[in-house]
Every structure is written in structure tokens, then in C-alpha cells.
């Protein structure tokens, strides 16, 4: 076996979650049979972990809208990705995720960013239960749709498009970005 590129792209938790639930439900790829214990174990354990993260409520539209909304902040792709994966609710969390946030973002910008996150990315807070119910309903509709049309022909294009948007070509790219910031 030969590894051509060990990290060709970064994936959001949502993308992994949707792939794994598809595998578990036999969409696109076949369900793991009794000879594929390893695959069954790792999909089960990973889905169980991801179910407790905000990615459970996301869909490709949310990811696309969010990446557009945060474009003016000039975040690195890895930072945008972590904002989606963690859905931070406090300024402290933003400061952890965004490197040298004191220099790159003003205090107002941090609150602006928190506002964008709470409006664009659905979460599991009590306040947003109504919003969440809506999203869940939407998700269910989407699921039904895809189930109907994707029985034999798996529609992967949509996900790949999102993947491409969030792609970080490789780790070197990130490092170059970091150096640039140091110079600033």
C-alpha cells in the first residue's frame, strides 16, 4: 500500500457523520456484514461520539452559509472548521480556537462572531429548542428525500462540494498562514 497524500483535505465532523450514518443505513456503501467487524465497530463508536456534538444538527446548507458569513473575518480554514465542530458560545472558546485572536480580532468582532455562530449554526441550548425542532424537521425531510432518490444512485456530489470549500490543501498551507500572521 502506498500513501499518496496523508492529508489531502480536512473534513468537518458533519461530513464524517453523514458518511458514517449512510454506511450504517446501507446508503451509498453497503452495510458492514459479519466479516467486517472492524468497520462496524469504528462506525458505531465514531457515530456515538459525533452524536453528542453540534454536527448532528448541521446540513450542507448550514456549512455553506456559515463559511460565507465568516469570510470577512479572514479566518484560516482550520479555524472555520473548528468553529463549526465546536460551536463556541463564549469569548474564551473563540480565543482558544483562533490563534492570536487578541491581535487579529477586536472585542466587538469576537461578539459579532459569536452572534453569527448562534444564528447560523443550530445548537442544543434550551433557548433554541424551537429553532432546533425546525431544523430537525428539515433534516428529516432531507433524509426522506435522499432515501427516496438515492436507493441505487448515491448522490455524493453535494457533500464533496462542501468538502472542497473547506479543504486545506495540506498542512504546509496552514503553517504558511501562521507564519504570515506572526509577521503581522
Amino acid at each position: 500500500m502506498e500513501v499518496i497524500n496523508e492529508s489531502a483535505a480536512l473534513l468537518t465532523n458533519y461530513e464524517v457523520y453523514s458518511l458514517l450514518t449512510d454506511i450504517q443505513n446501507g446508503r451509498g456503501q453497503k452495510k458492514p456484514n459479519k466479516h467486517q467487524q472492524n468497520l462496524a465497530t469504528i462506525t458505531y463508536e465514531t457515530v456515538k461520539y459525533l452524536e453528542n456534538t453540534p454536527c448532528k444538527l448541521q446540513d450542507p446548507d448550514i456549512l455553506a452559509k456559515f463559511t460565507k458569513a465568516v469570510a470577512p473575518f479572514k479566518l484560516m480554514k482550520a479555524e472555520t472548521l473548528q468553529l463549526l465542530n465546536h460551536r463556541p458560545k463564549t469569548a474564551v472558546e473563540i480565543q482558544l480556537i483562533i490563534e492570536e485572536s487578541e491581535e487579529r480580532l477586536t472585542e466587538e468582532q469576537i461578539y459579532e462572531l459569536l452572534e453569527i455562530i448562534s444564528t447560523n449554526v443550530p445548537g442544543t441550548d434550551e433557548v433554541e429548542t424551537t429553532e432546533m425542532a425546525e431544523v430537525e424537521m428539515n433534516n428529516e425531510e432531507i433524509r426522506e428525500d435522499t432515501e427516496m432518490e438515492a436507493e441505487d444512485d448515491y448522490d455524493e456530489d453535494e457533500e464533496v462540494e462542501v468538502a472542497d470549500e473547506l479543504i486545506v490543501e495540506d498542512k504546509n498551507d496552514v503553517q504558511v498562514g501562521e507564519e504570515d500572521n506572526d509577521d503581522d
Partner: protein, 207 residues
């Protein structure tokens, strides 16, 4: 947290799999080979993402199976250095705090990367952060097992666990091979740190 890795492999499809679609058989074989395994310097493999290219298949004399060169992309758990992750505390020891992600267990936050000042409670066998409210009063914040913890990835290490063949210099002693700590070392370990504000047990920062 997850990345896509591009790989290439020669897939051997045994004759009894010929009744399957070629792509289905290849997907199954690749998942059987890689899922839930650590590839050296790549990470923990989760599941196949897609097949990029299938080259021509070959049949070799004396073997009924077909051999196909396949280019594919695989989903791999490989958090980058400085990434923030959330896991559950699996246990505490003198070395530090052991964290589990559910599907990946080999995460250690060493004692010197805990919040300062931290103390190891021998009785409870737990680490505690001695948070100073003012000069006289200190809060003992215990890191209980099973609690959710947010940490930063500071280092990763891969150990090549492929067998290296019989050792010719030391043939008399089989026990040493069984007890050799190097042989039991996990193939991929992540070192974390929580010595920043906002890191540590989620309950500490919720209020």
C-alpha cells in the same frame, strides 16, 4: 479532527467475490483491511470516502484471484497540532490524565500540562486543580472519571509496530519479548494540554 487521505493499493479480489460488483468488492476489501487500524504516519483509519480511479486488473499464473490497482480516499482521524478537542476522562495516574474519544483512547495529558497548580490525590487517585479564589481559600477542582474535558493537541507520536523479525542476539529469553514495553506501545498516541483558560473540564467554564 478528521482528514481525507489519498492512498493507492493493489486489491486482490478472490474468485468467490467475483459474483459481487467489482467496486462493491473493492470497497469491502479496503474497509476490511483499513477500518479501525492505525496507519503509520497517517492516523486512525475510519471508513472509505470514495474510489478515485481503478486501473486494469491482472490475473497471475497459479492464482485465481484478480489484482487491481486502486486509487482511493479514506477518512482518517488525525487531529492537527494545536487543534481543540473534547473527550472524556478515562482515568488518572501519576503520569497525568488519560482521555478517551470513544473511538480513540490513546490520549494523555501529562502532569506538567495540567492547569497550574495541580495536585495528585493519592487517596482518590484523581488529579485536582487547586484553583485559588483569594489568598486563603482554594477550590479543589477534581477531574472525575467520565467527565467531559476540552484539551489542545500539542504533540502526536507514531510507533512502528510491524514485527521486525526474530532477534538473533537474544534467543534464550522469551519472557523479555512478552514483557518488553516497546512491543505493547500503542501505535498512535496524542499528547494534550489543558494549561490555558477555557481548557479542562467543561463544567469548570460553564458558569
Amino acid at each position: 479532527m478528521f482528514v481525507l487521505s489519498e492512498m493507492k493499493d493493489t486489491v486482490r479480489i478472490p474468485p468467490w467475490e467475483f459474483k459481487e460488483e467489482t467496486t462493491d468488492a473493492i470497497i469491502e476489501i479496503l474497509n476490511k483491511k483499513l477500518a479501525n487500524k492505525v496507519v503509520y504516519n497517517v492516523g486512525l483509519c475510519i471508513a472509505l470516502w470514495d474510489l478515485v480511479k481503478l486501473e486494469d486488473s491482472f490475473i497471475f499464473p497459479g492464482d485465481g484471484a484478480s489484482h487491481t490497482n486502486v486509487h482511493f480516499r479514506y477518512v482518517v482521524f488525525r487531529p492537527f497540532v494545536d487543534e481543540i478537542l473534547v473527550g472524556k476522562i478515562k482515568g488518572c495516574s501519576k503520569e497525568g490524565v488519560h482521555v478517551s474519544m470513544g473511538f480513540f483512547d490513546d490520549i494523555l495529558i501529562p502532569a506538567d500540562a495540567l492547569q497550574h497548580p495541580a495536585r495528585f490525590d493519592e487517596e482518590e487517585q484523581l488529579w485536582a486543580w487547586e484553583y485559588e479564589v483569594d489568598e486563603d481559600t482554594k477550590h479543589q477542582l477534581f477531574m472525575d472519571i467520565g467527565e467531559e474535558i476540552r484539551f489542545r493537541v500539542v504533540d502526536e507520536s507514531f510507533v512502528d509496530t510491524t514485527p521486525s523479525g526474530p532477534d538473533t542476539t537474544n534467543t534464550d529469553n522469551v519472557d523479555s519479548i512478552l514483557t518488553d514495553p516497546d512491543l505493547k506501545k500503542p501505535p498512535y498516541t496524542i499528547t494534550g494540554s489543558i494549561s490555558e483558560s477555557g481548557l479542562g473540564c467543561l463544567s469548570w467554564w460553564n458558569s
